[in-house]
Assembly symmetry: C2
Homo-oligomer: 189 residues x 2
């Protein structure tokens, strides 16, 4: 089991895929983003990292709001397209049916099974990226994505992004119950 140092830029882990939305010059713009995470429990806060050259960042800085939309596998082509073309050159506002929540300036995507609107509370400037930290104001789904009132991943069908081959992957199978299977180990010890 000899470890090899494969360098700092070695691809890391399966990343969930989102479409980050913002109003840029009064037009909804959406960007495919795999670098995001929840970062606070109470209140719920998300952080998204956007390359500084990205058009969507302009809108986030202007309105201090953004959305994080989780697409299902039926939107994989449109999602990839939103990562290929820039809102500087192409009007992406017509790609999706857009709706707004409480914040009024965070465009969300009707076709996505889960849409989250955020209010910018802090920005961290990193060398190539801006890390936008936003408090979640609301999350939107539809009855058809729920089972017993809970989000059902078999219905939402989110997908993951993997480097270095640059591929999208579905979720597979359950391998265990969190905060449960670890107790086996606790008992064993």
């Amino acid at each position: 089991m000899n470890k090899i140092n494969v360098g700092a830029n070695f691809p890391l882990y399966p990343m969930p895929v989102s479409l980050v939305g913002a109003l840029v010059k009064d037009r909804p713009n959406f960007l495919a983003v795999a670098w995001f995470s929840r970062v606070n429990l109470d209140p719920p806060i998300l952080a998204v990292a956007l390359n500084k050259v990205r058009h969507t960042g302009v809108g986030i800085q202007e309105h201090k709001t953004f959305s994080v939309n989780i697409p299902g596998t039926d939107l994989v082509v449109e999602t990839d397209y939103c990562g290929i073309v820039s809102g500087k050159e192409v009007d992406k506002s017509a790609l999706f049916q857009v709706f707004y929540g409480e914040l009024k300036t965070a465009p969300m995507i009707q076709q996505c099974p889960l849409c989250i609107e955020c209010k910018l509370i802090q920005s961290v400037s990193l060398p190539t990226h801006n890390l936008f930290i936003g408090e979640v104001e609301g999350a939107y789904t539809e009855e058809r994505y729920l089972t017993d009132g809970k989000p059902d991943m078999h219905k939402m069908k989110p997908f993951l992004f993997i480097r270095p081959d640059g591929t999208y992957w579905t979720l597979g199978e359950k391998v265990g119950e969190a905060y449960q299977i670890g107790k086996q180990f606790q008992q064993k010890r």
Copy 2:
């Protein structure tokens, strides 16, 4: 397609699972963490969000280093255990075979297919969590996890964490090539 506002705390998306490591009072400690993301391209930078009550955060603040280890499904029980018990009560240093890289104070896990060591460059204090932002100093894997010199997810077998049921999931199947399938749409338009 009527959207329902399901509240700010609605569970979000499949989260990759890691074990974040730090030296706490000279003892390696590991915590299961699903709230992390890459946040900068060049240099490679990661951010991890840790509840302020967590023992691992003490070590990160002391040594200004930490590790992010990606476990395979064969470590799902140990990983879950590291999320259940606190290093304040249990010595987790004996759970894994530990090694060190360039940084000397970021303990990494021999049993994990991918181990990343980071140097803390910034901390963001949020209400319940600290967001630790670290530049990647090195990443470590083994030949047996590579195919043609590239990381192979079928060999590494990372897993995801999903709320609200609190379950771990494997990766499924490829659904497309990134920066490629979107071109279909571009051509269609």
